[in-house]
């Protein structure tokens, strides 16, 4: 197999907020294996906001439908918190409709990524959505 001889110069740090352990695990595994990124995970919106403020990740993947504080409430909280409002948020959802898409945009989400995602190319999607690949 080919070996990446160049170690990435700019290792990204990603926070995955999802109440489902399987999604957290697959997203985390996928980004570590394919991009060698550092990944933090949170199982709830409240935990996610705390980790985001403390760790200052480069981007946040946020599940929309979660019990308790759901994804949109979490997004509002991230946007109003001065420690986290600069961090780009990508929403993760299994279903998305035109109307809700507009709502997500108004709330400041950078993009919506559909679940199920391809574990082989999740990192590429994030890079392209956030134009990291051009940097």
């Amino acid at each position: 197999m080919s070996i990446p001889l160049t170690i990435p110069m700019n290792i990204k740090r990603i926070l995955v907020i999802d109440d489902e352990a399987d999604i957290r695990e697959i997203a985390s595994m996928s980004l570590k294996i394919t991009k060698q990124w550092e990944v933090f995970t949170a199982a709830s919106g409240a935990e996610g906001v705390a980790i985001a403020a403390a760790e200052q990740p480069d981007a946040i993947l946020l599940d929309v439908i979660m019990p308790g504080v759901d994804g949109l409430a979490t997004l509002r909280s991230l946007n109003t918190n001065s420690a986290t409002q600069h961090i780009p948020v990508l929403l993760l959802t299994a279903t998305v409709r035109a109307a809700t898409r507009q709502q997500y945009a108004e709330l400041g989400a950078k993009a919506v990524l559909l679940k199920p995602f391809d574990p082989g190319s999740l990192g590429n999607q994030i890079e392209e959505v956030l134009s990291w690949s051009k940097a």
């Binding site: 197999m1 080919s2 070996i3 990446p4 001889l5 160049t6 170690i7 990435p8 110069m9 489902e20 352990a21 399987d22 999604i23 695990e25 697959i26 595994m29 996928s30 570590k32 294996i33 394919t34 991009k35 060698q36 550092e38 439908i65 993760l92 959802t93 299994a94 279903t95 035109a98 898409r101 507009q102 997500y104 945009a105 400041g108 989400a109 950078k110 993009a111 919506v112 990524l113 559909l114 679940k115 199920p116 995602f117 391809d118 574990p119 082989g120 190319s121 999740l122 990192g123 590429n124 999607q125 890079e127 392209e128 959505v129 956030l130 134009s131 990291w132 690949s133 051009k134 940097a135």
Partner: protein, 627 residues
């Protein structure tokens, strides 16, 4: 749209096919009910048109059978009688609509369009996307009122996407929908059609209307993309695989596949939560059956369906995603259809019980060709070899030669599973020593069994010195010799050895990559300890190579983590180290190392250490299993 027409009247069948083809439908025809049923089982049709009077299996029976097999596509019945009993029986059998013959082909095609529109739950017969309109009646596409000229296949592709805006179509499913059996093209042709369609759409101002979903296929982009209020550059919501942009770190295709394979491997870990979600759906169905479907139960079930739809495909069950979405959609209504619910749930449960489909997201598992390893016998004793060939009931084939040159050729062209060699013959041969040297050097993985005659210590020692792995007296009964061969074949089963190497030094990894695959060793490398555990689970290696000093997590710590695990605790671990201090070496063994190799190392050194370690491990396992 792909249609199945089951009609025994050849003339009507031809007229209808011709008409539907001009409407850009792809039509398959069957002349009797049994053929129709077989076609429907083989291909995902968008709609089936059935004549009631059919030979072998009539239209109503066929309809019943299709519905019993959980066929969900719409079915339109054609009946010549016009009797209400036929209509009632047809509808009860699961048909969605009927047309009474005689009728015009236009009427049939109008009913078909109506049925095809149903899932959209939208009254308008015109399909729209932004400023683009597709009129299925006129077979016309317009953009801002201006006609857009598309070829029939481009038109059909666009219609397929517009009718199924949420669905991702793989090349295979596009092929199934838009081509008949006879003219099925390659996937490359489908890509060309998509490319041409995209070009025309782009020219009409509808850039990026069709998304490429990595590893899955194509789907219609939402007509109302998310706007980004602050960023100067508009990011792509669903990046296209065809976009070519540079990346600082490009995951190799193998890393992508490994991530996909790892996700599938995680199924065992997450199976139970998935089954719990299924249980919630079953609970709702039972409640619905008994007329007690409360809102909380229904909402729990809808939530479970939503969660299933979002993750199940990643574990290798792609077909389950749409079923999850359909169930979620169905459970939005306070009084969902029990039949529909049951059908979807049954189908979902069937899928989860079927083998995992590892081809999802383009994952291709390297498949090892299944070949029966053979026994190569090198001996000029024709009585012995003939007896071996005629009486030997070894499950594996046997090849015999008394010519060392021929043996060499066989080794190069068709690797044997085990070699049985007469030591006396070898020692008497002029090229015997050179042959053995080459054998040991180039084919060290093939087990070598020496026949000792006369059987004494001196000859056995000579056998060991010649490099034999096992020795047996030639006078041993034939069945015992064969039993030993079988044993060796099983023990040394020549499946590829898998090695996982962790080192932060890319030069070392490259060096391993240069030498191990040449020896038939499959190598997976990890350059940060962080991804190690996933790769361990995904690759299931036979041996792990660890660097001692790495940032964040040292090799010694990794070794301790492996040793403390129930599954991986006995995995052979080999260290690579530039450190020679006794205290460092002692630390390695203390942490659970099996062996270490000093850096810099030679190819033969590392290969020999790996093979020795694995051989020792096999012996240990064997000894353990016989206790």
């Amino acid at each position: 749209m792909r249609i199945l027409l089951v009609e025994d009247d050849d003339i009507l069948s031809q007229i209808l096919t011709d008409h539907l083809t001009t409407q850009h439908y792809v039509v398959d025809t069957a002349g009797d009910g049994v053929t129709g049923f077989n076609y429907a089982q083989a291909v995902a049709y968008d709609l089936i048109v059935l004549d009631v009077n059919l030979p072998q299996l009539d239209g109503i029976q066929l309809c019943q059978r299709l519905r019993q097999s959980r066929y969900t596509a719409p079915i339109l019945l054609l009946t010549a009688k016009g009797e209400s009993s036929d209509k009632v029986m047809g509808l009860d059998a699961g048909a969605d609509d009927y047309v009474v013959k005689p009728c015009t082909v236009e009427e049939i095609s109008a009913r078909m369009r109506a049925l095809l529109r149903r899932p959209n739950l939208v009254g308008s017969p015109v399909l729209t996307w932004g400023n683009l309109c597709l009129d299925p009646v006129m077979c016309e596409v317009t953009c801002d009122g201006q006609p857009l000229s598309l070829s029939p296949k481009e038109y059909s592709l666009l219609e397929l996407f517009l009718r199924n805006p949420q669905r991702t179509f793989s090349s295979g499913s596009i092929l199934e929908h838009l081509w008949s059996f006879e003219d099925a093209p390659s996937e490359e042709t489908i890509r060309s059609h998509i490319k041409r369609l995209r070009r025309k759409l782009k020219a009409s101002g509808n850039d990026d209307m069709i998304d490429t979903v990595y590893g899955m296929g194509y789907r219609l982009k939402s007509a109302f993309p998310l706007s980004v209020p602050t960023s100067s550059a508009q990011p792509k919501l669903f990046p296209s695989a065809t976009d070519e942009q540079g990346s600082k770190f490009i995951a190799s295709p193998s890393a992508e596949n490994e991530a996909r394979a790892t996700a599938i491997a995680l199924w065992q870990q997450f199976k139970q939560p998935m089954l719990d979600r299924i249980a919630l759906l079953n609970r709702a169905m039972v409640a619905l059956e008994s007329g007690n479907l409360s809102d909380p139960i229904r909402q729990d079930a809808a939530h479970a369906a939503h969660k299933l739809a979002g993750s199940i495909a990643m574990f290798g069950f792609p077909a389950a995603t749409q079923l999850g979405r359909d169930l979620e959609q169905l459970l939005q209504f306070p009084d969902p259809s029990l039949t529909h619910f049951k059908k979807l749930l049954d189908e979902l449960q069937d899928i989860l019980q079927s083998p995992i489909q590892e081809t999802f997201f383009g994952l291709q598992q390297p498949s090892d060709p299944i070949t029966q390893p053979y026994l190569l016998v090198i001996d000029d004793d024709t009585v012995f070899t003939q007896q071996l060939q005629t009486e030997g009931n070894l499950g594996n084939p046997i090849k015999v030669t008394s010519d060392l040159t021929e043996a060499q050729l066989l080794l190069v062209t068709d690797l044997p599973g085990v070699i049985l060699i007469d030591l006396a013959f070898l020692q008497s041969s002029e090229d015997g020593t050179a042959f053995l040297e080459e054998l040991r050097e180039q084919f060290s993985r093939i087990p070598l069994v020496g026949l000792s005659y006369p059987d004494n210590f001196v000859n056995r020692l000579a056998g060991i010195r010649l490099g034999c792995d096992r020795l047996i007296a030639k006078s041993t009964p034939l069945h015992e010799i064969l039993a030993m061969m079988q044993d060796v074949l099983n023990q040394y089963a020549t499946r590829p050895i898998k090695v996982l190497a962790v080192d932060d030094d890319p030069v070392i990894l490259e060096q391993l990559n240069q030498c191990l695959p040449l020896q038939g060793i499959h190598l997976t490398v990890v350059n940060t300890p962080d991804a190690f555990w996933y790769r361990l689970e995904a690759t299931q290696p036979d041996l792990v190579i660890l660097d001692v000093e790495m940032p964040a997590v040292s090799g010694i710590e990794l070794c301790q983590v492996i040793r403390s695990d129930r599954t991986w605790g006995s995995l052979p671990i080999l260290f690579l180290t530039a450190r020679q201090e006794p205290e460092v070496i002692s630390q390695l063994y203390k942490a659970g190392a099996d062996d270490y190799v000093s850096k810099p190392f030679t190819e033969s050194e590392i290969v020999t250490r790996i093979l020795n370690r694995l051989a020792r491990n096999r012996l240990l396992q064997q000894a353990h299993s016989t206790i």
